[in-house]
Subunit: 733 residues, 2 copies
C-alpha cells in the first residue's frame, strides 16, 4: 500500500514536472515533498479512511445499527450477533414471503414466554422495545455528557464556523471522534427521529483533522488545514450516502467557506477513492453504489409538474416550520431550566418516540428502510401493504409495465398510517434535533417528504385511474396505461423537504440522483428544489445550519448575505467618539514595564505599533500572545533586560542615554504587513474584504495616521445591528 | 408569459420578505425592483433564451447542421429542406434496413447522372462533397473576416479573461452573436473536425450581455455583469449538451473567475429552465434529455479498471500532444506569414479534411453520430459494421443479455478504418482548432477518445472470449457470459480525452453521466478523469484554454496557480530603485497647469494624491479619465479657473495669498479608500488580494508614507518572471 502511495505521490505532486525548475536535486526532493504532502495527506486519509473510515467506521456503523435496531424486537438464535435479515438470510426458507418469519429469528415474546401472538405477547414486545430504546439513548447521552460534550448535534454548523476561521478547541479531537461514532450507533438504533449523515461529516472532519496534525504543512498553516477539512467533509458525505459527486458539491455549497479549485480537485480524488472503496465493500448489497436504487418504468408527463411543484411548496413550508419551531425550542432549552436536564430530556423524548412509534408499522422500522419502501415502484409481486392494488383478473401475466390499478384496502390502511406517521415525524423531529446526542437531519427530512410525496402520488394515481376522461389526464393517461408512479412523487417530495430545510440546490439534485439513479427525473427534482427554496426563502433566508449558527452566536460571516448599507469604516471602528484612545505600542519609546501594564490592563488580541504617540504613523501589528512570550523569554534568558528597558521594534536600537539598561528588540514578532483600510472605505467593501481574505482584524487609517481598528466581532455586530438583530448575541473567541 | 415573469419575480426577489424590513412602501417597491432585476434578468434571458436561445437558436442550429451535412451527399426530392433522416422518416418504407435507402432521398449522382453505383458515380459524389464543404467553409471564413472578427475560435479563453476583469470591446456584441451563430452552422456542416459546444457558450454569453445591457443594475456594475455572464455560460453548456447540472459545474470549474454562491443558485435556475425547455422541444427525439443515451446490460468488473486507467493515460497523452502541437502551430500562425492568409488556410484545411474524410465511413458522417455509434452496445439485431459478430447458431433467440461473441470480418474492417480515422482526427484537429472560424473542442476530443476506447474495448472483449482461462479473466468472465461492453470503453475513453484537453474533473464526470445516463459507471469515469489529469498535468499544468490565454497574452491571473515565491511587495512595485519617482498629485499645492502637464507627460490610469511632496502621506487616488473630464468641465464652465488656479482635494480650500485665482475643488473625484499594502507584504499575499478582490492596482506604503504602486500588469509580469517565462508577452488594456 505504501509503495502505491509513493508512486501516486510522485504523479500527483503539486509541483508537477521537476525538471521544469532549476535547483539541486536535494532541493527538488524537498520541494517535491512539500508539494506532495497535500497528496500524501489525501492518500493517507483515504488509505486510512478506507480502513477505519469507509471500510470499518461506516461499515461497522451500518452493521451495528442494523443489529441493534433489530435487537429491540428480537434475537437470532443461531448467532446472537446476526440482524434479522442476516439471520433469516442463512435459513433455508428463502422464499420471499417466509423470509421475515424464519424460525431462527425469535421475537422476545417467543423467546421469553413462548408466545408469538396475542395481547400479552404484544405488550411484552412493546415493553421490551421501549426498554431497549431507553437503554441505548441513556447510554448515548451519558457517554456524550461525560466524555465528549462536543459530540452532540449534527456538527455541520460548527464545521461551517470552523472553516470560516473560528477556532473551537477540541471540537475535532480524537475523543469527539470516538464518542461520536459510538453514540451515533446507539441513538440511531434507539429509534429516535434522526439520521447518521450529518454526524458522519463531523466524524470525517475529525479524521481529517487527526491526519492533518501529522503533517507539518497542515498543522502549522491554518488556511491549508481548512482546505483539508473541506475535502474531509466531502469524503464524509460520499461515505454517508454513497454519493461521490454529491459529496463534493455538498462540501462546496453548504459546508465550505472558501473553496479554491485545488480543493475541488482534491475532494474529487478523495471522493473517487471513497466511491471505489464503497464499490469494493458493497454495503448496500446491490452492487450499485446507490442507497435507494429505484427503477421506474414510465417517464413523467408535463402535467405532473403541478403536483411536483405542490410538493416543492410543501417542502418549503415544512422547512420553514421546522426551522422556526426547532430554533424556538432550542432557544427555550438555552434560556430556561430545561437545558439543565439533558439526560432527562433525551429519556423523555426517546420514551415518547418509542411509545408512539411501535404501534405504527411505518414508524417502527428504521427510517432508511421506510424511505426505501416509499421510493419503490410497485411490482406485480410486491407483498408490501402499499402495493395492495386490485389486480385485473383479465391481466395475463405480471410484466414490467403494470397499468394503473384501483387501490385495495391495504393501500387505504397504509394511507392513514402514513398520515399519522407523517404528523408524528414532523412533531418529534422538531424536538429531537438539538438534543445533547449526535443527530442528523437528512434522513428525517427525506422521510417526511417521502411520506407526503407517496400520499400525493397515490392520490394522483387514483384520480387518474378513476377519472381519465378529465381534461388534465386525457392527453397522457389512456385507460390501461401506466401513467403515475407514486414512488417518483416520494422521491420528489424527499428532495423538496431536504431542500426546504438545508436550502441546497445543485448538490441536492446531484445527491438525489446519485442516491436513486433517477437521472431522467432531473427536471422534476430541480423544479421541486427550486420551488421549495423559493417558498422557504420567502419566510426567512436562513437554512437550518445558519439558524443554529446564529442561535449559538458563532462569529460566522455568511458568504451568501449581501451587505448593502451605506455605512463607512469610520462608523464601525473602535474607539468610537468619546471612548478612550486606541491602545497602541510605540516603536522605540516604551519600556518593558509599560508594555506589561498595557497587556495587563487590556484583553485585546494584539496591538498596533506606531512611530510615536504624536505622529501615529502605523508601522505594524504585534500579537498579544507573542508579546507575552517574548518578554517572558527575554526576562529569563537575556542579560540586562529589566522593567525599565526600552522595547524597540525598529531595525536599529534607538539612541539611549548612557547607563540606561539593555534595550529589548522585538522586531521579529512584528507583523510588518497589517491589513489597513481608510476611514472612508464603505462597509460593503470592508465586509467583502473580511469575507474573502478571512481576516480577524483590520486597521483603519487616514492619510497614513492610525485611527482605529475593526475586528471581525465589530463587523458581525454592525451587520446584526443593520439587520435589526441583537448585536450582543454574537460570541467570539 | 409576462405575468408569469412578474409572479416569479416577487417570489424570487433577492430581497425576500418585504415586511421584514422597515421603510415606506415606495422604497420597498424600489428595493424589490432592484433585488428583482437579477431575477428579472435571469427569467428574461431564459424566456428569450427559450425563444431565441434554446428553442430557436440551438434548435435551428441543430436542424440546419443536419440538413446541410446531408446536403453534401444528396437531396430530398419530396422537400429539399428535409435532411436525410427526415426525408426517409416520412417515407413508407420504415423498416429498419430500408430507412437509409428510401427513394425520396437521392444522392447527387442519382439526381444528376442517374447512377447510384459505380466508379463514376462515386467520383461525382466525392467531388460534390468536397465542393459543398469548400463552399460552406469559404462562406463562413469570409463572413467572420468581414463582419465579426471576434466570432472565431471557441471563445472560452476570451470569456475566462473577460470574467477575470479584462475588457475586450465588442467581444460580446450583437454582431458577434449573429455571425457566430450563422458561421457555426456553416463550419460544422462543412465537415471540419470541430464541435459546436464551445462556441455555443460564447453565443450564450453574447445573449446574456445583450440582455444585461437592458437593465441598469447590470449595465453599470461590472461585477454584477460578470456574475450574469457566468450564469449565461452555464446556460450555454446546458443548451449545448442537454446537461443542466454539468453546465453549472462547467461554468464553475472552467469558465468563472469568481463564482459566488448566489450565482450558483441563479445558474441552477437558468439550467432548470433550459432543461425544461429542452425536455419540451425534445431535440434528440428520445424524450430522455440525453444526447448519447446508452443502456448497457452488464456491470463493470474490478479487473477492467486496468484498461480504463490505460485509456486515462492515453487521454492525458493526447491532451498533452494536442495542446503542445496546437499551441506551436498557433504561435507559427501568429508570427509567420501564415497568419496573413486565413481564408486560404481554412480552404486548404477544409479541402484536406474533405478529401481524406470521404472514403472512410467513420469520418464521412458527422462526428456526433460517430460518437453515438461508438458508445452504443451491440444489440442482436444491430446492422452496424461494428456489431458484425459471429453469432452462435445454437443461440435460441436474441435477448438482451448477449454473451461475448467472436468478431466477424466487419468488426476487423471497422477496426482498421477506426484506426485510420483516429490518426486522421488527431492530426487534423491540431490544425483546425484556432483557425479564423468558430470551433469547439468538446466533440473532436470525445471522438478521439471514443475511437481509441472502442478499439481497446473490442480488443479486451476478444481477448476475454478467446482466453477466458487466463488468470485475469477467470474470476469474472465465464464462457458464454457477457463480460465486456466495448461501448463503455468508448465512453471512458471520451471522458479521458476531454479531460486531458480541458483538465475538468467534477464537471467532466457530471457532463459525461448526464450525456449518457450511465450513473453506474461513475467509478470508471472518475478513474479515467483522474488518471488523464495526472498524466497531462505531469507534462504541463495548463489546459487548452489557459494555454491559449497565455499564447494571446491576455492578462489573466489564474486562480489555480499557487504563487509560492518569497518575494515582497517592495520587489515588484514601481518605481524601482533608480527610476524616476512616482508621479503623484498633492492635495492642495498643485496648479491646474501642473496637473495638465502631469497628465500629458505620463500615460498612467490614475495618480495617488498625497498631503505634500515632503510628507508623502497618502490621502486618496484620482483616476486619469475623471481628472481630465473635471478640468475640462471646470475650464469651460467655472468662472475664474485658469492655468495657475490651485487644485485642491481637501474639504476646505487652502489658504491662498490674496489676488490668486479661484481654486478648483476636486474632492468628489477622489477615491478616498484606495487599496494599500505595506512594502513588507509578501507577494504571495498580494497575489491573493489581487485575485480575490479583483484589483487593478494597489498602493504600497511604509509607516503611512507612499512608496510606490503595484498594478495588475506588474503582478502578472512578476509571476511570469518567477516562472521563467517572458514577462513582455503579456498585453494589457
Amino acid at each position: 500500500m505504501l509503495c502505491f502511495t509513493q508512486a501516486l505521490l510522485h504523479l500527483a505532486s503539486g509541483s508537477a514536472h521537476p525538471l521544469a525548475k532549476g535547483g539541486s536535486s536535494l532541493g527538488l526532493l524537498k520541494q517535491d515533498w512539500r508539494g506532495s504532502q497535500g497528496w500524501c495527506w489525501m492518500v493517507c486519509v483515504e488509505q486510512t479512511g478506507r480502513k477505519t473510515g469507509t471500510g470499518t467506521l461506516a461499515g461497522v456503523i451500518d452493521l451495528a445499527v442494523d443489529w441493534m435496531t433489530d435487537l429491540k424486537e428480537g434475537v437470532c438464535l443461531s448467532a446472537f450477533w446476526y440482524s434479522h435479515e442476516q439471520c433469516c438470510w442463512t435459513s433455508n426458507e428463502t422464499t420471499f414471503d417466509d423470509r421475515d418469519k424464519c424460525p431462527q429469528w425469535q421475537k422476545w415474546s417467543e423467546l421469553l414466554v413462548n408466545q408469538s401472538e396475542g395481547a400479552s405477547a404484544y405488550i411484552l414486545n412493546y415493553f421490551l422495545y421501549i426498554l431497549w430504546a431507553l437503554c441505548f439513548a441513556f447510554l448515548a447521552v451519558s457517554l456524550v455528557r461525560v466524555f465528549a460534550p462536543y459530540a452532540c448535534g449534527s456538527g455541520i454548523p460548527e464545521i461551517k464556523t470552523i472553516l470560516s476561521g473560528f477556532i473551537i478547541r477540541g471540537y475535532l479531537g480524537k475523543w469527539t471522534l470516538l464518542i461520536k461514532t459510538v453514540t451515533l450507533v446507539l441513538v440511531v438504533s434507539s429509534g429516535l427521529s434522526l439520521g447518521k449523515e450529518g454526524p458522519l461529516v463531523h466524524v470525517a472532519c475529525c479524521c481529517g483533522n487527526f491526519f492533518s496534525s501529522l503533517f507539518s504543512k497542515y498543522s502549522k498553516n491554518e488556511g491549508k488545514r481548512r482546505e483539508v477539512l473541506s475535502a474531509a467533509a466531502a469524503a464524509g458525505v460520499s461515505v454517508a450516502f454513497g454519493a461521490p459527486i454529491g459529496g463534493v458539491l455538498f462540501s462546496l455549497e453548504e459546508v465550505s467557506y472558501y473553496f479554491p479549485l485545488k480543493t475541488l480537485w482534491r475532494s474529487f480524488f478523495a471522493a473517487l477513492v471513497a466511491a471505489f472503496t464503497l464499490r469494493s465493500i458493497n454495503p448496500f448489497g446491490n452492487s450499485r453504489l446507490v442507497l435507494f436504487y429505484v427503477e421506474y418504468h414510465t417517464p413523467w408527463y408535463m402535467a405532473e409538474l403541478f403536483p411536483f411543484i405542490l410538493l416543492g411548496v410543501f417542502g418549503g413550508l415544512w422547512g420553514t416550520l421546522f426551522i422556526r419551531c426547532n430554533i424556538a425550542w432550542c432557544r427555550r432549552r438555552k434560556t430556561t431550566r430545561l437545558g439543565k436536564y439533558p439526560v432527562l430530556e433525551v429519556i423523555v423524548i426517546t420514551a415518547i418516540t418509542a411509545i408512539i412509534a411501535y404501534p405504527n408499522p411505518y414508524t417502527r422500522r428504521s427510517t432508511s428502510e421506510l424511505i426505501s419502501e416509499l421510493f419503490n415502484d410497485c411490482g406485480a409481486l410486491e407483498s408490501s401493504q402499499l402495493c395492495d392494488y386490485i389486480n385485473d383478473p383479465n391481466m395475463t401475466r405480471p410484466v414490467d409495465d403494470i397499468p394503473d390499478r384501483p387501490a385495495g384496502p391495504g393501500v387505504y390502511t397504509a394511507m392513514w398510517q402514513l398520515a399519522l406517521a407523517l404528523v408524528f415525524k414532523i412533531v418529534i423531529t422538531i424536538f429531537t434535533f438539538g438534543m445533547k446526542i449526535p443527530s442528523g437531519l437528512f434522513i428525517p427530512s427525506m422521510a417526511v417528504g417521502a411520506m407526503a410525496g407517496r400520499m400525493v402520488g397515490i392520490g394522483v394515481e387514483q384520480l387518474a385511474y378513476h377519472h381519465h376522461d378529465w381534461i388534465i389526464f386525457r392527453n397522457w393517461c389512456r385507460p390501461g396505461a401506466d401513467c403515475v408512479t407514486p414512488g417518483l412523487y416520494a422521491m420528489v417530495g424527499a428532495a423538496a423537504c431536504l431542500g426546504g430545510v438545508t436550502r441546497m440546490t445543485v448538490s441536492l439534485v446531484v445527491i438525489m440522483f446519485e442516491l436513486t439513479g433517477g437521472l431522467e427525473y432531473i427536471v422534476p427534482l430541480m423544479a421541486a428544489a427550486v420551488t421549495s427554496k423559493w417558498v422557504a426563502d420567502a419566510f426567512g433566508k436562513e437554512g437550518i445550519y445558519e439558524a443554529h449558527i446564529h442561535l449559538n452566536g458563532y462569529p460566522f460571516l455568511d458568504v451568501k448575505d449581501e451587505f448593502t448599507h451605506r455605512t463607512l469604516a469610520t462608523d464601525v471602528m473602535r474607539p468610537r467618539r468619546g471612548e478612550a484612545p486606541l491602545s497602541v505600542l510605540t516603536q522605540d519609546s516604551m519600556t518593558v514595564e509599560d508594555v506589561e501594564t498595557l497587556i495587563k490592563e487590556t484583553d485585546y488580541n494584539g496591538f498596533p505599533v506606531v512611530v510615536s504617540k504624536d505622529s501615529e504613523r502605523l508601522i505594524g501589528f504585534a500579537q498579544r500572545r507573542e508579546l507575552i512570550l517574548a518578554i517572558k523569554n527575554a526576562r529569563q534568558r537575556q542579560d540586562g533586560v529589566v522593567s525599565n528597558s526600552i522595547v524597540y521594534f525598529t531595525e536599529d536600537p534607538p539612541e539611549l542615554p548612557p547607563n540606561s539598561p539593555h534595550p529589548l528588540k522585538l522586531r521579529r514578532i512584528l507583523n510588518l504587513s497589517p491589513f489597513t483600510v481608510t476611514d472612508h472605505t464603505p462597509m460593503e467593501t470592508v465586509v467583502d474584504i473580511f469575507r474573502k481574505l478571512g481576516l480577524r482584524q483590520c486597521l483603519v487609517t487616514r492619510s497614513g495616521r492610525l485611527l482605529g481598528i475593526i475586528t471581525k466581532k465589530d463587523v458581525l455586530r454592525h451587520m446584526a445591528q443593520m439587520a435589526n438583530q441583537d448585536p450582543e448575541s454574537i460570541m467570539f473567541n
